[in-house]
Symmetry: C2
Subunit: 350 residues, 2 copies
């Protein structure tokens, strides 16, 4: 299983990316990683062990390839322009390999979301039948499980057919994660069938009858992380707001807890003596990056967008996530599900 990794994308590139790639091939013996980027810098990092806790690196060099390229696409670049013009960038070169190398099953980047999405669309292409790829992150739930949120922001404006596609792709990804019959909820402003704007009202009617989907109806924002659904279908606008609101709220809650512990002498003692470990664990559960990145669903191969501020541990998680999704036939499942759907009935354009 070969996964291509953009070594130059993200705030901590290339050190954290290289370190994450080494961790990933050490964790998964069937995995080969191809790093695209500045070969000299990458080799220097591999020699010195920068960004890694155990120096120098120990790994199987036959499963870590480097493909040199001279350019980097940054957050300041306009995605559509950069993808066309920066032909020797780590992102474009990686996507070229992903498209052309049959053994390459997936791609990971911590670079600009816009550039990764645009690049994947232009250089790898969509799955036939999917008009709009979507961003699908994995969130923790109150019950200790995971929930997928789709679309988390690729499409600010959606039609009902897009939300049907999101339900199909989310279901396929949940299945690839081992959930046999994923429960799909439509995130709206109330649970009743008639709730929402016309987009969501129409989508509800289509989702109710969509082949292969276990639709549990409308859900509210408070249900996303409750553990009662596996896939939360959103339009990209409110999905982005919901995703970032979970981040902001978790931070706010942790900050209120910290302040209250600091403010109380006894709580400070209790924390120092007994609770440090439990809190470390809590932070780990709530740290989304440990769950890997967000999958771009609808692209013809597995693409994982790791968080821009990813450190080695999250990069490793994203690479393993791409490997697992590919190994479990994510793209094939989406295609198979699409083949069972009456595309005309849901208004497919592609």
């Amino acid at each position: 299983m070969k996964i291509i990794v953009d070594a130059m994308g993200g705030d901590n590139a290339p050190e954290a990316i290289v370190a994450g790639a080494v961790q990933a091939i050490n964790a998964q013996k069937d995995l080969t990683v191809v790093l695209t980027g500045d070969k000299e810098r990458i080799e220097k990092i591999l020699r010195s062990g920068e960004g890694n806790e155990e120096k120098p690196y120990s790994y199987d060099p036959t499963r870590l390839e480097i493909v040199h390229c001279a350019e980097v696409i940054t957050n300041d670049d306009v995605p559509t322009v950069a993808i066309r013009q920066k032909k020797d960038s780590s992102l474009v070169v990686a996507l070229k390999i992903l498209k052309e190398d049959e053994e390459a099953k997936g791609f990971v980047s911590a670079g600009s979301t816009g550039a990764v999405l645009t690049g994947a669309l232009l250089r790898v292409g969509r799955i036939r039948g999917i008009s709009r790829p979507a961003v699908c992150p994995v969130l923790p739930t109150a019950k200790g499980g995971k929930v997928l949120l789709i679309d988390a922001g690729a499409n600010a404006e959606c039609k009902p057919v897009n939300l049907c596609h999101f339900a199909i792709m989310g279901t396929a990804y949940a299945k690839a994660m081992g959930i046999s019959s994923p429960r799909v909820g439509l995130v709206t402003n109330g649970t009743e069938e008639h709730k929402g704007d016309p987009l969501h009202q129409e989508s509800y009617q289509l989702l109710k009858n969509l082949a292969g989907i276990r639709f549990v109806g409308n859900v509210e924002g408070r249900d996303i992380m409750s553990g009662d659904i596996d896939v939360a279908v959103c339009d990209g606008f409110s999905g982005n707001i919901a995703l970032k609101t979970t981040e902001g709220t978790a931070l706010a809650v942790m900050s209120v807890i910290k302040e209250n512990i600091k403010a109380s002498f006894w709580a400070k003692i209790g924390y120092a003596l007994f609770m440090r470990k439990a809190f470390k664990n809590i932070k780990r559960v709530l740290d989304y990056s440990k769950y890997g990145g967000a999958v771009l669903l609808g692209i013809d191969k597995v693409v994982v967008k790791s968080h821009g501020s990813s450190k080695a541990e999250s990069v490793c998680a994203s690479i393993l996530q791409a490997r697992d999704a590919a190994a479990n036939g994510l793209t094939e499942t989406i295609k198979e599900m699409l083949s069972q759907v009456d595309l005309e009935a849901i208004g497919s354009e592609a």
Copy 2:
């Protein structure tokens, strides 16, 4: 200052409502509360002290009036029908007093949101110039302050003019809460000026030039509770999702913390010995109901919708909130701000 209270609305009515009303008049000496509802039941509660910790009640009876009415509007009623037909319901009678009694400055109900909103619109009326009233709850922030979210769900479909009105009303309410120059953010799927769907893009341009508004630009879901803004302007659809996502996330985080403390022997000891008090305080900060209810802004008098599951403490907080908003001239401030705005430029319809 006279506040009218629907004694029969909400899951814990009338016991919790009566208890909350007594707490409120005991806390605020200039306050008179008028309870509408089943007089016999209310008087029995007042005599027996049901729903209250200190029995029997001790309060100034000249500041607690009861207006008897025989009907109740429930969550099963269709709001528009119930408001017209149940003329002797606690809600309709309360709104009649609010409209007609010049001394009545505000109204509190824990009943159905739809019925309260419809009733307030039909029986009290809108502020001239505001086409769509909005729901505006108060949330805690990471910095220990408060933030207003408007609209939290009254209007699933909005036009740019509605979002301008939300900004004006939210600013007026923040001022009534003592914030001299409230920072207003537009909640979208990114901070850049061009982000969002056409509704939000157009609203951005109008808000930028709106008289009396300190517009700080687009904000993301993660900024709502950061403490960096005072008013978060949303369309009612995504605002409702954002509000409920904060609730769901806070619950999920607290549940993860609880599980981790329960799972560790030492953390359990630390919690029992040292941290119980700090956690009680944390829960208090995160319990939105302690901040009172959501104000319905745009109605010609102060209307506060208390949570359906409100207990006495939240009912008391909502009554004091209505009293403070009225005492600080909320409705007058909205009218004054509207008079300074070029209503035609923002596309006002009313």
